[in-house]
């Protein structure tokens, strides 16, 4: 049966193997028999030893993790277009792994019975089935189609060495091969390489690779004056091309590059020069695969031309973070590096968003991150809190200008959502016209918060005043900061309100020093680490540092360190606060990575005795800090 939905399903499937081999009408027929399955983050599609479903799955949206239950090791991660759960169906055996949704996912479940006829009618499809039968995990062609170099061998050896995350690293070799003929001029080649942003170009004849030209060839043979730029490709190309099969593993690729001292491998259908080239693997791609290296990731972010690519890189950043935590690298360093990388991702999203606007921004603007990202304390994916500030324009142009920036901010926030920052539930985002204002509009807004500090205004100040500029004109942000300090010195009573706001957080422990847990909602009986432990420190540091008129220190731990310098009398307490902040942040991050969430809520019974003691020690510091704030800002008077 054909309908709007089945056509929609077919449109998606035709982009991926083996469905791309099936004719349009057949595919639409098949799509009519598909079921569309929704799975929330963390829920299972199937579990080990379960009897196979009658269908296999294709990921339409989201990501699915395949996991070996016994060894608790990750076998594979399936992305858009990947197939899983096919082998047990054909082999008629129970599932040998768990499959669960890493993020909210939509899957297409394709009944094997409906699919089987095509495997007989189409040679490509039957090959696909054979290969997936032979290989152990999933889509055997993903190696070619998606640029996944991690084959079975690689994942096995890595599971052995406990480096299970390795499998998750996305290797992308360029499958869009940039090539020329042997008579193309060097000038044209250089132009195309620049345009396509590649470091190597393949020289082909009848689709077969006959030579390769890299940046190095152009530098050594042309820029030195040896040959003119009008010379032809064949005069500078390296030939014959060293080719490998596209099924090679990461370690094989590494060996190959070292052995021949080359930086680009040409991958062909069967690994010889006698079949068509299917892709080029550069050293950069390989580094990215192995990529526990911030510099490589940084380069990859800046190179990303699509938001989707940044999403993949962010997964690598999470792996890097995991590694740092495992190796016990100091938290200050860890959070600085991860924040830098996260900032770079945001910046790149903004760059890409700007390109999507039909015109350049009419005036200068700045993109601000607020909340945890503004404080460089955001290690995991959390909600986005951001704002946009643009230069003042004449009254007559204000509407038009703010419309432009709201539109831009909408593209940006959507991009940020795509790379893993969820929308702020309170809509504190640049895409909300209330958070996308001109400099003087912002000035009067914050001025209002400071001079009339009701509970709402204090809450807004608390979130907004930790802003940091991520992109754009720094002067705009600086001027706003200046203005905030000026206003707060005119209305010192504001600090008292801010301080009282800082004391509003619920207490972490009860009378007998027991943990206080949530008594309602989805997190019933969990400990709210953010609200009960981190927020009192964050809020406390903010009011103290603002009262000292210290700008451009946003990080809570660093704020406490600075306070310790400024107030030798309370040095001990502030250093303890700094330490507690770092410890709690680390705690939260570890919990978050463990459960693939923000780490905010903690199941107490999963903690070891030692961890519990550590946590409780920070509570004592929190209490002392709150006492100090209460006395200093005379909050008691306000409350009474």
């Amino acid at each position: 049966m054909n309908n709007t939905i089945s056509i929609r399903v077919a449109d998606f499937l035709k982009r991926f193997p083996p469905f791309n081999a099936i004719s349009k009408s057949d595919l639409e027929m098949l799509a009519g028999k598909v079921s569309i399955v929704y799975r929330d983050k963390g829920s299972f599609i199937f579990e080990t030893d379960e009897i196979p479903h009658e269908c296999f799955y294709v990921v339409h949206k989201g990501a699915v993790i395949l996991k070996n239950k016994e060894k608790d090791s990750l076998l594979d991660m399936c992305d858009e277009g990947d197939i899983f759960g096919l082998r047990p169906l054909i082999a008629n055996e129970n599932y040998k792994m768990d499959a669960y949704a890493l993020e909210e996912s939509i899957l297409y479940a394709i009944p094997l019975e409906a699919f089987r006829p095509y495997s007989q009618n189409y040679q490509d499809v039957s090959n696909f089935l054979l290969e997936s039968f032979a290989s152990n995990t999933r889509n055997p062609y993903s190696i070619k189609q998606k640029g996944q170099l991690v084959s079975e061998k690689a994942s096995e050896s890595n599971n052995g060495s406990d480096n299970v995350m390795f499998d998750l690293q996305q290797v992308t070799y360029s499958k869009k091969i940039v090539c020329c003929t042997k008579s193309t001029t060097i000038k044209a080649i250089a132009e195309r390489m620049t345009k396509k942003r590649v470091g190597a170009m393949l020289v082909v004849e009848n689709k077969l690779p006959i030579g390769i030209i890299t940046d190095k060839d152009i530098r050594n043979k042309v820029a030195t004056g040896l040959l003119p730029i009008t010379a032809k490709a064949y005069s500078i190309m390296s030939s014959p091309v060293i080719t490998y099969p596209n099924t090679m593993t990461v370690s094989q690729a590494q060996m190959a590059m070292m052995k021949s001292n080359i930086s680009h491998l040409c991958l062909t259908e069967d690994g010889t020069v006698n079949t068509a080239a299917v892709g080029i693997l550069s050293k950069h791609d390989l580094m990215l695969t192995l990529g526990n290296n911030p510099a490589v990731l940084m380069k990859a972010i800046k190179r990303a031309r699509k938001v989707k690519k940044i999403k993949l890189i962010r997964k690598s950043i999470m792996n890097l973070l995991q590694g740092y935590l495992d190796q016990n690298i100091p938290m200050t360093l860890t959070s600085r590096i991860i924040s830098e990388l996260n900032d770079a991702c945001v910046k790149q999203v903004i760059e890409l968003s700007l390109k999507r606007m039909s015109t350049e921004p009419p005036i200068k603007f700045a993109w601000l991150s607020m909340g945890s990202q503004g404080r460089s304390e955001q290690l995991l994916h959390t909600d986005q809190d951001n704002a946009l500030i643009f230069e003042d324009v004449p009254e007559t142009e204000l509407t038009e200008t703010s419309e432009y920036f709201v539109q831009l901010a909408q593209i940006i926030t959507k991009g940020l959502m795509k790379i893993g920052y969820e929308y702020c539930p309170a809509e504190m985002m640049g895409s909300n016209p209330k958070w996308c204002l001109s400099l003087s509009q912002w000035k009067s807004t914050v001025g209002h918060w400071i001079s009339y500090p009701g509970p709402e205004e204090v809450l807004l100040s608390a979130i907004f005043f930790d802003f940091t500029i991520v992109y754009g004109e720094k002067d705009l942000a600086d001027e706003l900061t200046e203005h905030i300090f000026k206003e707060t010195s005119t209305y010192p009573v504001f600090f008292r309100h801010l301080a009282s706001g800082a004391l509003q957080n619920p207490s972490p422990s009860g009378f007998f020093r027991s943990f206080l847990v949530e008594d309602d909602g989805a997190h019933k009986d969990f400990f709210d680490l953010k609200r009960r432990a981190l927020m009192p420190l964050v809020d406390g540091a903010r009011v103290l540092i603002l009262s000292h008129q210290i700008k451009s220190i946003n990080n809570t731990a660093e704020r406490f360190e600075r306070l310790a310098e400024l107030e030798p009398n309370s040095q001990e307490l502030f250093l303890a606060c700094s330490y507690a902040t770092k410890a709690l942040l680390k705690f939260r991050t570890k919990q978050g990575l463990l459960h693939n969430d923000s780490g905010r809520f903690i199941a107490l019974d999963t903690l070891s005795k030692e961890e519990k003691i550590k946590l409780k020690r920070t509570f004592k510091t929190i209490k002392e800090l709150q006492e100090l704030i209460k006395v200093r800002f005379m909050v008691a008077n306000l409350l009474s």
């Binding site: 309908n3 709007t4 939905i5 399903v9 569309i36 929704y38 509970p455 809450l459």
Partner: protein, 219 residues
């Protein structure tokens, strides 16, 4: 009660009796066992009296799964026609897309619908449109339980002084919020699909909130 029912239904056609029969079966208690029918109608306009349904799209949803083969999509043969609305639904009067009569459409739709729970965006409108159509053939109103994604979505929003809540949220806004591709927007089945995905996401969100229960949802 039974007597009363019989008496009332005495002149109704068989297909209506079949439809009513389905309600003898109680809805399951487990949300995963309930069949939801997510529907959308395209109409000639917004006037219940004069405007007519041009197409009905519906899909069935059970255990978080949409079964594509169990989709429903019909185009109706209508004489009443507003040129102004062609821009929205893209259905031209003379564009005959295997159109069937209104009565035929109702008959097929009731057979598809059975006692399932109806889900629609701004459900009030679609229900009224459908009930008006039923009335024209002397049929009683639809008896299904109805859920409105526009209402449910509002329940997922946080209560915060910082968030200004809107009175109405359009399907476009939901698609935007939940990152659902707006392909086939303004075709009945395309809109049903968007509504269905939004519905699944809303339910997940509501489940995480405190005191979620099916009974409350159905109220």
């Amino acid at each position: 009660m039974r007597l009363f029912k019989k008496k009332k239904n005495v002149h109704l056609p068989d297909f209506w009796h079949d439809y009513e029969e389905a309600f003898n079966q109680k809805l399951p208690d487990n949300i995963n066992e309930i069949r939801f029918v997510v529907l959308d109608t395209e109409t000639t306009g917004f006037d219940y009296e004069n405007d007519r349904i041009l197409s009905i799209g519906a899909l069935s949803l059970k255990n978080s799964t949409i079964i594509v083969s169990e989709s429903f999509e019909v185009y109706l043969d209508q004489y009443f026609y507003h040129a102004a609305n062609v821009e929205i639904h893209g259905i031209l009067r003379d564009e005959r897309k295997n159109c069937i009569s209104e009565l035929e459409a109702i008959q097929q739709f009731l057979k598809f619908l059975r006692n399932s729970v109806i889900v629609a965006h701004h459900a009030g409108f679609d229900m009224k449109m459908l009930n008006c159509a039923l009335e024209r053939y002397g049929l009683p109103k639809l008896q299904n339980k109805v859920l409105d994604t526009s209402y449910l979505y509002k329940k997922t929003l946080i209560y915060s002084p910082l968030l200004t809540r809107k009175e109405q949220y359009s399907l476009d806004e939901l698609a935007e919020k939940f990152d659902i591709a707006k392909k086939d927007r303004h075709t009945a089945l395309g809109d049903s699909y968007i509504t269905a995905i939004a519905f699944l996401k809303i339910i997940e969100k509501l489940k995480k909130k405190s005191k979620f229960s099916l009974k409350k949802l159905m109220r």
